[in-house]
Amino acid sequence: MKEVIIGIPIQWYIFLSIALFCIGVLGVLFRRNAIVIFMCIELMLNAVNLLMVAFSRYLGDTGGQVFVFFVMVVAAAEVSVGLAILMMIYRNTKSTDIDTLNRLKW
């Protein structure tokens, strides 16, 4: 499978990851629904994971792929906490639109 990494320049992976990351950033800024914003943050983390695996492959170092496990761990922990916070808010306000959460001004 050596052809694969010779065939695809690492630049392509860098640009793809940056594009996915920026789409995630766009979503965080663009959307007002808290759940969709969480999903966009997941997308950002995944863009980073993809780049991590690509670098790990091109550098021939397993460390990058192991790091991806830790990113997954953190993503799972963050999601569980984030959704718990969201449930708590929904119980009090019956909405997950972040514009209703403006009692404290930004």
Partner: protein, 167 residues
């Protein structure tokens, strides 16, 4: 063009289009489904990069666990309809401009960056479970143990936030 390049372009196309649809679609359930498509495309990239074990874990953890949790919350809060209120355009344009600027500046900054590879280190088997396990349980022993604290605190926190108060 090589076959692998065609596969790369196809997977990237799928990933970027579904990521964009995730952002642009107004229905949260559709967004979840688009995100799952993106995850599968990324798993395809992992296979292309010879990271087979990670591809499987990625599907199990993200598509299997995290997205199910999202869907579950959406169903529980009954958000599966187009409830997003209509917003003024100015913040949306500002968001698009900000993200576009970030994209431009990041691409400009990394453009021309070369990753210097050590030719001898090019081992195509690094993605196998054998190698990953050895690294994880030798070199990365401490982070592995420490992540249990992270999980424990997340678990305590999630239970604490969602349990009903008894008064």
């Amino acid at each position: 063009m090589l076959l692998s390049q065609y596969i790369f372009l196809f997977l990237s196309f799928v990933a970027i289009i579904s990521a964009l649809m995730l952002v642009l679609d107004k229905n949260p359930v559709h967004s979840v489904l688009y995100l799952i498509i993106t995850f599968f495309a990324i798993a395809g990239h992992y296979l292309l990069l010879n990271a087979q074990f990670l591809a499987v874990v990625h599907i199990i953890v993200y598509a299997g666990a995290i997205m199910v949790l999202f869907l579950y919350v959406i169903m529980m809060l009954n958000l599966n309809k187009d409830i997003e209120p209509h917003k003024k355009n100015i913040p949306k344009v500002a968001a698009a401009v900000a993200a576009g600027l970030l994209l431009l500046s990041l691409t400009a900054l990394v453009n021309g960056a070369e990753v210097n590879m050590l030719p001898a280190a090019r081992n195509s088997n690094i993605g196998l479970m054998d190698n990953l396990g050895k690294t994880l349980f030798k070199e990365y022993m401490l982070p592995f143990e420490i992540s249990s604290i992270l999980f424990l605190s997340a678990m305590v926190g999630a239970v604490f936030l969602s349990k009903k108060e008894i008064h």
